[in-house]
């Protein structure tokens, strides 16, 4: 009897606890923990998603990837595209009470630009911005090193978040552990290994948020995230492992959110491996790849065939760039023409999470006589291996994915295919080099006219695709699982976006 009483009591207690939390708090579960609370010192989309409700940028992307005003109310470029003037929103306060004005904006960008701070996003801004001026209390002028046609994109990316000047004075270590921005949510705590909690900012300059508290948690265990959503311990999970998409879709009370992503999955063919120096061999591998089967079996259909070396959401993507059809006969012919009728050995370096792709390719390519040796590697070993200069490089081809945080072809094609980007300088992992491509990419980067840039990038894409520098595989859809009560949350490429979530009963 006593036992039953205890049991009943504890059950009631659990119910009380969970309902009390559920009413005004949302729990979001990611697959990875945030790396830092400093918006300018990382490039991880999961960290970004956590900081997004707390930090704001001058301009922002809306759901359709258009640039809209945020902390800046208006902006304009000079005729030569080298001076950009932003009007700063008035009456905005940081979470610590500091005032947002032109000086605060300047201080925030200067922190990024100062090499002594060693912030990881410095190079992205330092290569563009020459000087920052504050002609009036709420006016900021960016003087650029060269014409930069899409500067409003640069002020929209999360690494350009405006940080409280008072917090900057407390130093980088403070900012790595605390967030002090202008967003609708205020930082409350970051318990390492457990959660980040933020509470609503009553003094928010816009509409004060409806949900009192956001809690970000994380679990790398795929099935655990799904169970967390099913049991109500999380209201939103991202990403949903494709294997479980159907289960979530079929569960009453849960919604599966699906969005095309910019993230492109590929195998960089390493030209240090002699057979891969031949275009025909590289093309043969592309023809021998049954992308649809990979998407069906590994992604459960939640993706599309990659027809280009770059992502479909980014500016400059050419939807008409021809994809390689699955044609093993043609592949065999090409291999024979190149003098490898009996096949050859291809070594692939891959991390655990993507090893299944390597294994699928191994199966497919064995049909055309190509023997794939898979080197599954731990993150640190993998990075050491694939980022090593030609003289130390073992010539492994590499499976990886790429998403451009600027959503622009420049952030895709230049680091991956420009001759100047050979590793370790940047991420041309297979040492692909084509002077024509280099020229097109350079031209595009120095052109202001958007339609012209688009043309350059389209040409470059087609050449790279023809040269088969990569085996471009697929664009996996971003999948999020939501409790039906959650609203006003969306996916932008491979990031979960929520700044003003609402709860509906």
């Amino acid at each position: 009897m006593k036992k039953i009483l205890y049991l009943a009591l504890s059950l009631v207690l659990i119910c009380l606890l969970s309902s009390a939390v559920g009413a005004e708090s949302l729990t979001i579960m990611h697959s990875e923990p945030p790396l830092t609370m400093d918006p300018s010192n990382h490039s991880a989309s999961y960290t970004m998603a956590v900081l997004y409700p707390m930090y704001e940028t001058l301009t922002d992307f809306n759901q359709d990837n258009e640039v809209i005003p945020l902390l800046a109310t208006a902006w304009e470029a000079s005729a030569d595209g080298k001076t950009w003037t932003y009007q700063i929103r008035q009456g905005v306060k940081f979470h610590d009470g500091s005032k947002l004005d032109a000086l605060a904006v300047k201080k925030s960008f200067s922190r990024i630009l100062n090499p002594d701070n060693g912030l990881s996003s410095r190079s992205r801004f330092a290569s563009v911005i020459a000087k920052i001026e504050t002609p009036a209390e709420y006016t900021v002028k960016f003087i650029l090193k060269k014409p930069y046609p899409a500067f409003q994109h640069l002020t929209s990316i999360h690494s350009g978040s405006i940080v409280s000047p008072a917090a900057i004075d407390k130093g980088n270590d403070f900012l790595a552990r605390n967030a002090v921005g202008t967003g609708p949510y205020k930082f409350k705590e970051w318990k390492s290994g457990e959660r980040v909690v933020m509470v609503k900012n009553e003094n928010y300059w816009g509409k004060v948020p409806e949900v009192d508290q956001l809690v970000f948690k994380w679990s790398s265990e795929k099935s655990v995230r799904v169970m967390a959503l099913q049991s109500g311990e999380a209201d939103i999970i991202f990403p949903v492992p494709p294997a479980y998409a159907k289960i979530i879709k079929n569960t009453p009370g849960l919604t599966l959110m699906e969005e095309a992503s910019d993230k492109t999955e590929w195998l960089a063919l390493n030209t240090l491996n002699k057979p891969l120096q031949s275009i025909k061999v590289r093309q043969a591998l592309n023809y021998a790849t049954d992308r649809q089967a990979i998407i069906q079996s590994l992604l459960f259909g939640k993706g599309t065939i990659a027809n280009s070396p770059m992502g479909p959401v980014s500016f400059g993507y050419d939807p008409d760039c021809p994809a390689y059809p699955y044609d093993p006969e043609k592949a065999k012919e090409l291999l024979a023409e190149a003098g490898y009728a009996d096949g050859f050995t291809l070594e692939i370096a891959v991390q655990e999470a993507e090893a299944n792709i390597a294994e699928a390719l191994q199966g497919m390519w064995s049909e055309i006589g190509v023997k794939v040796v898979i080197h599954k590697m731990e993150y640190g070993l993998w990075a050491d291996e694939v980022f090593s200069a030609p003289e130390n490089n073992k010539g492994y081809s590499v499976i990886a994915s790429w998403a451009a945080s600027l959503l622009d072809a420049d952030g895709f094609l230049t680091p991956l295919f420009h001759t100047d980007s050979f590793v370790p300088a940047s991420a041309n992992l297979g040492f692909y080099s084509n002077p024509e491509v280099d020229k097109l990419l350079d031209q595009a980067a120095n052109t202001v006219d958007q339609s012209k840039r688009k043309e350059f990038y389209s040409k470059a894409q087609r050449i790279i695709q023809h040269d088969a520098a990569h085996v471009s595989l697929y664009y996996a859809n971003s999948l999020a699982g939501l409790n039906n009560k959650v609203a006003n949350v969306w996916l932008l490429s491979d990031m979960l976006v929520l700044r003003h979530p609402t709860i509906q009963e």
Binding site: S120, V224, M227, A228, G380
Partner: protein, 306 residues
């Protein structure tokens, strides 16, 4: 004995110093560049170099160690490269969780393991004995994560009576400690049964057994004392395993303990944090084994350690 204790305790700082040096050098020797890993895959070489300078990794390695040592002697193990939080506070926030999990699963393993093992031996070849031994074999051959995930699905999702993951209340502790206890329970049960059998086989106990159950229970106390050495050794060793090796359980249940801290810091080659965690583990392992030594001498006074 007291000489042994004093010598052991005096040696501890010396060993810690040696370990800190070894681990410091090994960390810098193994592949994996923290600057690259922290800057990310999209970072250019320039970004990586800047990160290296910021992390102080371009200094001479011996100067780095000297700096570390100087700070460590003042109780400062440096800051985590990744979170910038002091290593000491990172470990402090995880330590109670790890101890809670280790101690609770430990209590389960030791109590169930010894009792069922001893009973299995007393009733050798009985159905109970076979059931216990079969459970032990299941326990020793089942993947930890598999059991954990199945239990989570059943108790949290289907029945909804236990929290799925995280920490904070005693309910949070139930599933992780049970699933973590599975393997050591099996091992301890098996070891207790085997040791107990050795004793029981000695003639005087066998005579007692022939006289009936009551006599066996009387001898139990005496018998177990001698059977204790392998049991206690295994129990002690498993504390170390539970303390530092609960990685899978901690990951699956999102338990914020030392094991996950270590794995995460190895992934990013967060040198100071790895260093701090290893030093803590050394202290724990040494202390527990030290305790085991003392208990063994108490049980069997003929044993000499010095």
């Amino acid at each position: 004995m007291s000489k042994y204790i004093i010598r052991k305790l005096l040696m501890l700082p010396v060993v810690l110093l040696a370990v800190s040096f070894i681990i410091f050098m090994i960390l810098r020797f193994i592949p994996g560049d923290p600057a690259r890993l922290m800057a990310g895959q999209q970072a250019t070489q320039q970004d990586v170099e800047m990160m290296r300078t910021k992390l102080g990794l371009d200094e001479n390695i011996f100067i780095q160690y000297a700096d570390f040592l100087q700070n460590a002697l003042q109780g400062d193990l440096g800051n985590s490269m990744r979170s910038s939080k002091p290593v000491i506070s990172e470990i402090k926030s995880r330590f109670p969780n790890t101890m809670a999990l280790a101690l609770s699963s430990y209590t389960i393993a030791v109590s169930i393991g010894i009792v069922s093992g001893v009973l299995a031996a007393v009733f050798q070849y009985s159905l109970f004995d076979q059931a216990v031994m079969f459970m032990a074999i299941l326990g020793a051959s089942t993947a930890n994560f598999w059991l954990a995930l199945i239990a989570m699905n059943f108790f949290s999702v289907k029945l909804g009576i236990l929290p799925l993951m995280g920490s904070g209340s005693w309910q949070h502790l139930i599933l992780p400690s049970l699933s973590l206890a599975f393997y050591p329970t099996a091992l301890i049960a098996r070891m207790s049964r085997s040791s107990m059998l050795e004793i029981i086989r000695q003639d005087y106990i066998r005579t007692a057994k022939a006289k009936g159950l009551g006599a066996v229970i009387v001898y139990c106390k005496h018998a177990l004392r001698n059977a204790c050495i392998p049991i206690i050794t295994v129990v002690g060793l498993h504390f170390g395993v539970l303390f530092g090796g609960a990685v899978v359980t901690e990951t699956v249940f999102n338990w914020p303990g030392i094991g996950r801290l270590l794995i995460d810091s190895v992934r990013y080659r967060d040198y100071p944090l790895i260093q701090g965690t290893v030093l803590l583990t050394v202290v724990m392992v040494v202390l527990v084994n030290f305790l085991v030594d003392i208990i063994i001498v108490k049980i069997d006074p003929r044993i000499r350690l010095d």
